[in-house]
Subunit: 286 residues, 2 copies
């Protein structure tokens, strides 16, 4: 059996009981390490599981699925994914290959930021499509997310923005020379995401993510150290949310009074928030 | 401390390790019993937790939050919610009351259908806003979901339809006479939801959920007995998905080839699915 197991959001105890039992019964355990991270390291997981954990990089999963699936028709193998297993396409790929090989697959679900973002007080019903924001480079500034944000905004819906993570990056020189030397991992901050959004807005001018658009930044959701702050996108660009992971929500105009009440509890600056709520969202202060 | 704990989707072992530890350390444990259900009964939870579990009906949570929060500044109290705690508004209300009373609140997240629906093979990025479909009665046939489905469809996005559950319903006679006698719980099936959607489509005529619209029905997601079937809305209306809980996804036209491949694995009837994919979704058969 191939178990595809969501680990949830924060630490080793966010795995479900069912998931933990599957891991402990597995002959081999892989941890997918390129779409998200936990707030604890591999060693802590290994101690807790009582199992060795092999890190599966993107290239491992894409090119070495035979190794991951080896003998999985006879023994149990666990493939661990931070959050819920079905955020990213690649695992679907692994599922399809398993089926081709006659390996049974069981998914053990868990929380992902897609539902945990409800902790902001914004209602999940009022979210439109989710977007990803990648690190801009000098020559590569993909902004296709803008269209989707604008579509959500036109309907008055919130947008969850998932922020890029870069692991195992190589400098051009190391890449050219074939050296397996990797740069330190990078995780996009709310602040950088807001700056990039404002830059795209300045170029596109549609008003979907402007300086005064309300936003909610979140960091380390699901951990004891979780941080939620509401304010304008301009404020987000200047706010330090601390260590990763971060996500950003753009607040749509269908915002309800009850949602606004909860945003106030997280205001970076209540006067600014109330002013924008009243002027742009037609929600009076209490 | 008030712990608000997601139980996940299927049975008593879908709780997280962190959640289980909190429950076992709690003086009182409440189970919210009106927005969703597990596939196991209260007794099984009580045996597994080693704790008595009090069922919290909607009216309990709304009118007796003082009792739920009693002494929660001194002892631990657990409030259990099937799925993730932040699907429904009412828990937000409980959180706000706790804060007013100076009770600390910790949320322990878990899977909900909002992310677990990725098990269909449809990508979470391609979903628009989620809608709820309630049981139609002779005199009450609210169809405000149609507008939202149409908005999603116009953008080519998928729509997750959450299906009504009715617990503690009273007949008009029992209600009038003040008798605490309740009807058996009812859970909307994929089949009934599809019939209601087709009825609304016939009245509205926008084409957002027509006979040939592709849909994916799911039942008992996250359990060993999970069922996923893809077909037209007409087929859904006639298909028996078995015991609860059910959800329904309407498939948008931005459907990718990889998503279509996975739908084919779940086809009620492959020829019909391929024909609609080719004609309406411009995706050729393999």
């Amino acid at each position: 059996m191939l178990y595809i197991i969501g680990l949830g959001l924060a630490d080793e105890r966010d795995i479900t009981v069912k998931g933990l039992e599957a891991v402990r019964a597995s002959e081999r355990v892989y941890l997918e390490a390129y779409t998200s991270i936990l707030m604890v390291d591999k060693q802590r997981l290994e101690e807790y599981y009582g199992r060795e954990v092999a890190i599966a990089h993107r290239e491992t999963v894409e090119s070495c699925s035979d190794e991951i699936l080896r003998d999985a028709d006879k023994v149990d193998v666990s493939f661990l994914v931070v959050g819920d297993p079905y955020g990213a396409t690649t695992h679907t790929d692994l599922v399809l290959r398993a089926r081709e090989k006659g390996v049974r697959v069981q998914t053990i679900h868990n929380a992902s930021i897609m539902n945990a973002v409800g902790a902001t007080g914004l209602q999940l019903y009022n979210f439109g499509q989710t977007v990803s924001i990648v690190f801009f480079t000098e020559n590569w500034r993909p902004d296709s997310f803008y269209q989707r944000i604008a579509e959500n905004a036109a309907l008055g819906l919130h947008t969850l923005c998932l922020l890029d993570i870069k692991v195992r990056e190589q400098t051009m020189e190391n890449l050219m020379r074939g050296r397996q030397i990797f740069e330190p991992p990078r995780y996009m901050s709310v602040s950088l995401a807001a700056q990039q959004l404002l830059e795209v807005e300045a170029a596109r001018g549609g008003g979907a993510c402007a300086e005064d658009t309300l936003a909610v930044g979140v960091a380390r959701v699901g951990s004891a150290d979780q941080l939620i702050r509401a304010g304008t996108l301009r404020q987000m660009a200047d706010y330090d949310f601390g260590v990763p992971l971060h996500s950003l929500v753009l607040v749509g105009h269908r915002l309800h009074d009850l949602e606004a009440d909860l945003l106030r509890e997280h205001a970076i600056d209540l006067a600014t928030l109330d002013a924008v709520l009243e002027r742009d969202y037609k929600i009076g202060s209490r």
